[in-house]
Amino acid sequence: MASFIDALTYSALLGLMGFGLTLIRRTTGVWNVAHGEVVTIGAYVALTATSFLSHSPYFFLPLAFIVCAAVSGIIFLAGIEPIRAKGASSMLLLVVTIAISLITIAAINIYADYLQNVFHLASKNFLFARFDFTLWGQMGILWSAWAALGALTVSYYLMLQHTRLGLALRALAEQPALAIVMGANVKALSFLSWCLAGGAAGLAGCLFPMRFQCHPGVGTSMIATMFAVSIFGGIEKMYGPLFAGLVLGFAQIYGIDLISSWIGPGVIPFKDLIPMIVLLLTLQFLPEGLSGFVGRRRG
């Protein structure tokens, strides 16, 4: 049962992380390797605020959203946009995000060292499970992670379908040049998407330490899993990451339990291979992902 709940929680967090990757890819055509570090920053916002202001981390979700949205927005404006304006390929932009990832890794670690050396916080390894509340017999993190993912996905979907901004975002994803001709400001729309993606990552990062151990490399180590969520979900539809998060979360936590009960506990440490396998299988056999596949079937 515990692993079922863990899987459910983990799924929602993965969904939140993949949401941002998908959003950025859809609107800007970039695979953002630095997205993992944005998640980590969310966790450190939670750590800092909780340590200095002594409130529950839930209290700081909006703060984490804002900080990470700002970081992601700055990454876009300062790192991506200048090079993209020169007509760089999506490949080159991927390299740019790797460079940005190196810089943010350094910044995060420097900050964590600083917290540890100056304020004597356990900043290299932290968990907030003791702050959590219980609702209907389950940890609050389960409810809040799903609430965050659900609210984000639904509101983003409504925004896409029913507002002019959403229309412009969809148009931009289809025919960027035509959208520009009709007056869509690509830079502003992309900036907005990056901010929103960063915000979602910030929520995931802020919630992550409620259930799972966090350290300066936590987001970095999960980037391949995030890619698996985003690519497996497909970038066609924004519900992709939600479903892919479920599949991967369960495959990784619940699935490995199942396999180990057949084969033996020896396989448990290899649960991190599961996202890689899903990613590679997806790229091979379902390159447009789950939502693309469903979309194609429906015609």
Partner: protein, 350 residues
């Protein structure tokens, strides 16, 4: 003081050789063929694991070691390695046999890993190929960290020193051997560049559709290049392990063995061997200096090693912004030399 400098230079040289080989492998894939291999660490780790697994077993087989130790190779690895070392001190031929067999196996492992990761990847477009290889790069780290029999899990293993026979010159010999490897790769790349194959590779890089329409099997050729690159990375990984006489999965990070080479190659210029050489040297030097003078920065409230990450990232961004082709740009290549061209033109009466 002098001794310290010598040590510094020798270690610099050793790392330089390893990284130059690795970076030239990336140059072959990215610069010649346009394959964005973000999984260099995979074949490198494969080679390193071979280096961690094979020499100690070869050593036990070739020299006198207490056979009861073999019952738990991992637990006893330090004892076995030091016993083998003692014998190897007077047996350069045995040591070199171990070296050659290890390199052979590491090259094969690199080729196999290149094939495994390349086969599904080569059909994918641009950045999907990069992500596929990036994901593959993680696989061996996960296995190595969790499956002790390979190289002892996260703690790693000690391995016999195949350079033990060189005595005081041990580090010098190992460093030079690394540079010989790099030189070999360099000459291989030069021969590729001059051959018709080099032009095919560039054609695939610049316009793979056009190359395909000329009857070139693009996916096949790209796979071959990834395999060749994998062999080079595998060799480099084994040489690195033999140089450090130890291997630990945690030291084989994506940062050190994929991203760092990328920074060096992009900085120097992926279109030029000389550029790659310069990029490699500059960054190895910077890295060594940061590590060596770390103590001078101990007043900082954080580990100075992060400055290296910061520097790499910034340099990469600046280069991509202001000089995307890198320090040294690619020379236009002609099918014929200038003189032959003039002669041909004369004959045709142009």
């Amino acid at each position: 003081m002098g001794g310290q400098w010598l040590l510094f230079s020798v270690d610099l040289l050793a790392l330089f050789g390893i990284y130059l080989a690795l970076n030239l492998s990336l140059r072959l894939q990215l610069g010649y063929t346009g394959i964005a291999n973000f999984g260099l660490v995979l074949a490198f780790t494969g080679g390193a694991y071979v280096g961690g697994w094979l020499p100690i077993r070869l050593g036990m087989w070739l020299v006198e070691v207490d056979p009861s130790l073999a019952e738990d190779m991992i637990w006893n690895n330090v004892i076995i390695a030091s016993q083998v070392d003692l014998s190897l001190q007077g047996a350069p031929f045995t040591a070199m046999t171990i070296l050659l067999l290890t390199l052979l196996a590491a090259g094969a492992a690199g080729a196999l890993l290149g094939l495994l990761s390349g086969y599904p990847a080569v059909r994918l477009g641009g950045d999907y190929l990069a992500i596929s290889l990036l994901a593959f790069g993680e696989v061996l780290a996960i296995i190595g960290n969790n499956y002790d029999p390979v190289v002892g899990g996260p703690l790693g293993v000690r391995i016999p020193d195949v350079w033990a026979w060189a005595g005081d010159w041990r580090f010098m010999a190992a460093s030079l051997a690394n540079c010989v490897l790099a030189l070999g790769v360099w000459m291989y790349l030069n021969s590729v560049e001059r051959s018709p194959l080099g032009r095919v590779l560039r054609a695939i890089r610049d316009n793979s559709d056009a190359a395909a329409s000329l009857g070139k099997n693009v996916a096949r050729i790209r796979l071959n290049v990834i395999v060749a690159g994998g062999i080079i990375c595998g060799l480099a990984g084994a040489m690195y392990t033999l140089y450090t006489t130890g291997v630990a999965p945690s030291a084989l990070s994506r940062f050190d063995w994929t991203f760092l080479p990328w920074v060096m190659v992009i900085f120097g210029g992926s279109g030029s061997n000389v550029g790659v050489l310069i990029g490699t040297f500059v960054f190895i030097l910077v890295q060594k200096l940061i590590i060596t003078y770390k103590f001078a920065l101990s007043f900082l409230p954080f580990d100075p090693v992060w400055l290296q990450f910061l520097l790499m990232g910034l340099v990469l961004i600046l280069v991509l912004n202001f000089r995307p082709s890198g320090l040294v740009t690619e020379k236009a290549s002609y099918a014929l030399g200038r003189r032959e061209m003039a002669k041909a033109a004369g004959k045709e009466g142009l």
